[in-house]
């Protein structure tokens, strides 16, 4: 078990290092000229060269890279072009928002997706199954921003018109100041993020459960006279969940994508909103910083998922 942990952590560090490398290459090495982008279209070559020098982009690549890594290891992510505050604190401010959004929707989609999948799998070809399958397909095909727009329209706009002001259209309230407010502002974003992914998980769980329920050892359990509920939840669900766990690990990457969209639609001041803003403003240090933090988050999340997976299925540890 320890060997497995060590290996997994080592791999995670390698991945993280590769990601920082990729980011570096993207921004500092690529043939396009970051400096000219910042200097603007009208800039003369002298201005561009000046910008380049000021940003330290005319130094040899290796020096730039070492500097970059040195800063990273010290937690220094640079300073925003826009307002000169340290990128680190800008990001730090927004982490709770994104975190709340991500965790809440993850919880929601797992709950909805898995239960819908189990429901459909235990009643195959009945109306419940059909409803689940069709609904899942519908939400699965929907781009998340579209769903966000629809939810925004229906549950914010329409409800407000009808005089029901339950769900605010934007803004964020910290959990510490008002849990109710926090939840209220996050409910619509949570559902937006969760519904599409829940559909994927519902299909996945359903398929996996159907496979497992057809296995001989389940038939044996039933023949032994075990109550159906126990057969399903205690025996079948455990093995059916392994592909779901794997999927969850992969989905962290897509989760961040969803977060960006949802934050933009619902005006949540999180990392996603910041990412888009900083790109539109060409505030490169913030862009870089956000990406790096996101990458680190994903690597850590993947490690955790793998470890959980290793606990659930000991065979994985041998590999």
């Amino acid at each position: 078990m320890v060997a497995f942990l060590v290996r997994r952590l080592a791999l995670g560090l390698v991945v993280l290092w590769v990601m920082t490398g990729v980011v570096f290459v993207m921004f500092f090495v690529a043939p396009h000229n970051v400096a000219s982008l910042i200097a603007g279209r009208q800039a003369t070559p002298e201005t561009v060269a000046l910008v380049k020098h000021r940003l330290g982009l005319d130094r040899p690549l290796l020096t730039q890279y070492l500097d970059y890594m040195w800063n990273l290891l010290h937690g220094n992510l640079g300073y925003s072009f826009y307002n000169s505050s340290p990128v680190r604190s800008l990001i730090w401010q927004r982490v709770p928002v994104t975190f709340s959004l991500a965790l809440g929707s993850a919880f929601l989609w797992l709950a909805m997706g898995i239960s819908a999948g189990v429901l459909a799998a235990t009643r195959p070809r009945t109306p419940s199954d059909r409803v689940v399958t069709v609904t899942a397909l519908f939400f699965y095909s929907m781009p998340s921003f579209l769903l966000g727009v629809i939810i925004f329209y229906l549950f914010f706009y329409r409800l407000h018109l009808a005089g029901i002001g339950w769900f605010p259209g934007n803004g964020y309230v910290a959990f510490t100041s008002s849990p109710l407010g926090w939840a209220q502002h996050l409910i619509l974003p949570w559902f937006t993020l969760a519904l599409v992914t829940a559909a994927v998980y519902a299909r996945l769980t359903r398929g996996s459960m159907l496979d497992v329920l057809g296995e001989d050892y389940i038939r044996t359990a039933r023949a032994k006279g075990l109550p159906e509920r126990r057969v399903v939840y205690k025996h079948a669900l455990r093995s059916a969940l392994t592909p779901v766990v794997t999927q969850f690990g992969i989905d962290f990457g897509t989760l961040l994508g969803g977060v960006i969209i949802v934050e933009n639609i619902f005006g949540l001041p999180g990392l996603g909103q910041q990412a888009v803003q900083s790109v539109l403003q060409q505030d490169l240090p913030v862009v870089i910083g956000t990406i790096l933090v996101a990458a680190a988050f994903i690597v850590v999340a993947n490690i955790i998922v793998d470890i959980v997976y290793g606990i659930l299925d000991p065979r994985v540890r041998v590999h």
């Binding site: 980011v23 396009h32 095909s141 921003f145 579209l146 994508g257 990412a275 888009v276 490169l284 990458a295």
Partner: protein, 316 residues
Amino acid sequence: MTQAPPTVEAFEARPVEDTRLIEAKGPWRLAWERLRRDRVAIVCFLVIVLIVLVAVCAPLIADLVGHKPNATDQLGGLTPEGLPKGPSWSHPFGTDSLGRDIFIRVVYAARISLLAGVVASTLAIIVGAVVGLFAGYIGGMTDSFLARTMDVILSFPFLLFGIALVSIVGPSLGIVIGVIAFFSWASVGRIVRGQTISIKEKEYIEAARSLGAGDVRIMFVDVFPNLIAPVLVYLTLLIPAAIVFEATLSFLGLGVIPPTPTWGNMLAESLGFYQVAWWYVLFPAAALLITTLAFNLLGDSVRDALDPRGERLFRQ
């Protein structure tokens, strides 16, 4: 004393007259027939054909309807208050904030979406299939390395990186296609690799080796035909994902930017007017949704046709 089961000697040689086949159709034929009988698949297919036709004939349609996609019309296209006009005979889908005809813009946007979807997916499939086949078959260190690389790529946050790239290079359709292809090839590769690994262990591969076939021949003549089915299914799922990705980037302002219409950026613009112009939101949204639904449903049907033991049937 129990009867011993009949041994081989009991069945003396009979002349071989039993050359009848037990099944007359090959696997592709059977799959095709299953697909043909699937009404949902047929509907989806027709919808897609319609969309493709519409996209291809966009200029013709523009002439028919009498509007150009980027032709702003402050006078005729807006209400006296300067707001978009609702659906009417001359503007079946209404107009947008600049008086442009939404119908023709939706039509032209289809071109972009389909282009992005199909081109990006095809690229991803080609690269992914080759790498996956190679990695799965060769095995060993090369395989470990390639598999890990694919896993790493898959754990990248696609959208975030796409956004980052756009920040450097500026938004364009080319970038969108490139980003989609770059992140998708790894998922194709993983699937192909998995399939190759399980195929590699089959006896008919061993048979090919015993005949003296070289690795390259085995890969392309024996392994590859067995990969076509899963790759095809994946293609039908990859295309709508690519379309959605393009729409999302454009929605955020980081893909195709106005005035070129794409369903994504039209939706972004429409958000400013949702209170007064429901048609502005509805029609691009509907177009996008119908397209992705059609592809996804078709993909499901294709998968069922190629492998009827799949999700739908409860295995005995």
